[in-house]
């Protein structure tokens, strides 16, 4: 019996190792499938026309997503204008100033905000901007993405700033440099790479958001010339084309998905590579 029990323990050990490995593979499976299908279905349609042409009217074959691609970048630019200053400076406050209790609550609220569904953000900015402005606009789209970025950037900035050793601050202060200068020119500058990667990751996150744009930027079949007009965006276009009834639009939706997926994947992978360099250099 004793020998059998021992074998049973060994078996359990091996079994769990195999089981957990299998689960890890299952977790990775959807990623592989999605990448594969997006590549397979999109690669044929990502052509010059796709990048340069506007969408054709309903039912007509051809056209592209030029305005959607440009629109996404415009929205990201606006979002950065809103989200980066607020997020970074807020992160500076959390790391360099403040009382324990207040900071705890700020962090807690930021984490809660990070969990607010993106569609709710869309509704809120709709009420705040679209209704008074009596129409969907690029402003509204940029603002909603920017607001979503604020808690993200605040937390990543704070974390990165905390990693800067206390010694740097002390040395600067001992030299007589004013605290606010110390914070900006010494601490922030040291952590700049980390802050930038945090911003890039936040931008990558919101670049794929569709729900909040549904009732703020709304989408546009043409070029947008004024910021108070609705604007097309890549995820919006993918969604609208994807749920439509037209095969040609489906084809373009895959192409759009490929472009968006590559954008997001490239940012994520390069951020990882950059941060690994940073740690390697330090060690």
């Amino acid at each position: 019996m004793n020998e059998n029990f021992h074998q049973w323990r060994k078996f359990k050990n091996t079994f769990m190792q195999v089981l957990t490995c299998a689960c890890a593979l299952v977790v990775v499976l959807p990623l592989a499938l999605v990448f594969y299908h997006v590549l397979k279905s999109g690669i044929g349609s990502v052509n010059w026309a796709f990048f340069t042409q506007l969408p054709k009217p309903v039912g007509e074959v051809g056209g592209g997503m030029a305005n959607a691609i440009v629109g996404t970048f415009v929205l990201l630019g606006l979002a950065a204008l809103v989200g980066v200053p607020v997020g970074v400076l807020g992160g500076v406050y959390l790391s360099e100033y403040g009382a324990e209790r207040l900071n705890w609550w700020i962090r807690f609220m930021a984490d809660v905000l990070n969990g607010v569904p993106s569609i709710i953000w869309g509704m809120v900015v709709w009420g705040l901007m679209v209704v008074p402005m009596k129409g969907y606009s690029t402003w509204a789209g940029g603002v909603v993405l920017g607001l979503m970025m604020v808690p993200m950037i605040m937390r990543t900035t704070e974390e990165v700033l905390r990693l800067v050793p206390a010694g740097y601050r002390e040395a600067a202060l001992a030299l007589g440099i004013a605290p606010w200068r110390t914070a900006l020119q010494i601490v922030v500058r040291t952590a700049l790479r980390g802050i930038v990667t945090g911003i890039l990751l936040a931008l990558a996150r919101v670049s794929g958001e569709t729900a909040p744009l549904l009732f703020t930027a709304f989408g546009n079949d043409f070029w947008t010339h004024r910021l108070r007009d609705p604007i097309a965006a890549l995820p919006l276009q993918i969604f609208n084309y994807g749920i439509s009834a037209y095969d040609d639009w489906h084809r373009q939706a895959w192409a759009g998905a490929l472009v968006l997926l590559l954008m997001v994947a490239v940012v994520n992978v390069s951020v990882r590579v950059l941060t690994r360099e940073r740690f390697a250099a330090r060690a």
């Binding site: 004793n2 020998e3 029990f5 021992h6 323990r9």
Partner: protein
């Protein structure tokens, strides 16, 4: 009574009989079958050699102290006696270690079995916080398949009594283990190790994190325990080694410099390095 499962290769160990008269005091080095026999032990972590050609015999039913300055390899030596150094992936060893005549690094010998026969107590007490006092003591038995509640209770009481903790905790066996004081937790860890009835007990600076009163209790405990077990204790406290050990091994930079009866090693060491360390010229 449920017997603990035995490994396929190793014959059943000598079980201490609590009714037998105490064995003769302080074994001389080289007499009877040594509990542990180390021959030409080399230990490497990656390319770094941490122990060099260590050879010694640890006598049964005696306390052997391992002393030496920081970084001399004493902890590594201790851990090689129950194959715990293998938890580090880059660890490698050469040489032989015999436990009552059997090679614990033999090809078919599993670390799991060795560790049941050679128990360990750590520098910082580490009871399992989610378990009660009783559960902590019996966890080793339950892992080995002992289910009979009567047996578990008996063994638990025995182990706690041997660890000089029974009177203090008998009324609150279901209390969480972490509700005990530091010294009590360490004795709980000793009880936990004793419950599986090992033949050898390894102790890695067991009292270094404790106050003098708790330390004294542990030292008294060790002197009691050696009647039934073989004890190997690593300590940086030379007075402690002089107080409680029968034999002492002095390590320096990974080599065994001197090994002998404690009184002799401390008063008339043969090697100059030993004398320098023992008299405090370096350390």
């Amino acid at each position: 009574m449920n017997a603990l499962p035995q490994a396929p290769e190793l014959p059943p160990p000598v079980k201490p009989d609590t009714n037998a008269p105490p064995p003769p005091p302080a074994a001389q080095p080289g007499s009877a079958v040594p509990a542990i026999s180390v021959k030409d032990l080399d230990v490497f972590f990656g390319s770094n050699q941490v122990l060099k050609r260590v050879t010694l015999d640890i006598s049964a039913h005696a306390v052997t102290a391992i002393i030496g300055p920081s970084g001399c390899g004493k902890s590594t030596f201790l851990r090689s006696l129950n194959r715990m150094h293998e938890l580090v992936p880059s660890a490698r060893m050469q040489g032989r270690i015999l436990l009552f005549g059997q090679d614990i690094y033999g090809r078919k010998v599993e670390p799991v079995v060795v560790r049941r026969r050679v128990g360990m107590v750590f520098q910082k007490s580490n009871p399992f916080p989610t378990m009660s006092i009783a559960e902590n003591v019996t966890v080793g038995l339950r892992l080995n398949g002992v289910r009979n509640r009567k047996v578990l209770c008996e063994r638990m009481e025995q182990a706690l009594a041997m660890a000089a903790l029974w009177d203090e905790v008998k009324d609150r066996l279901t209390a969480p283990a972490i509700s005990l004081s530091g010294g009590q937790q360490q004795r709980l860890c000793i009880a936990r190790a004793l419950a599986v009835q090992p033949e050898v007990l390894l102790m890695d600076e067991p009292a270094s994190a404790l106050d003098p009163l708790a330390t004294a209790k542990i030292e008294d405990l060790i002197l009691e325990l050696k009647k039934q077990y073989t004890i190997v204790i690593v300590t940086h406290n030379m007075q402690q080694a002089a107080r409680i050990s029968d034999q002492t091994a002095f390590f320096y930079l990974g080599e065994l410099i001197e090994f002998g009866l404690t009184p002799k090693l401390f008063t008339h060491p043969s090697k100059k390095q030993t004398e320098d360390y023992v008299t405090g010229r370096f350390g």
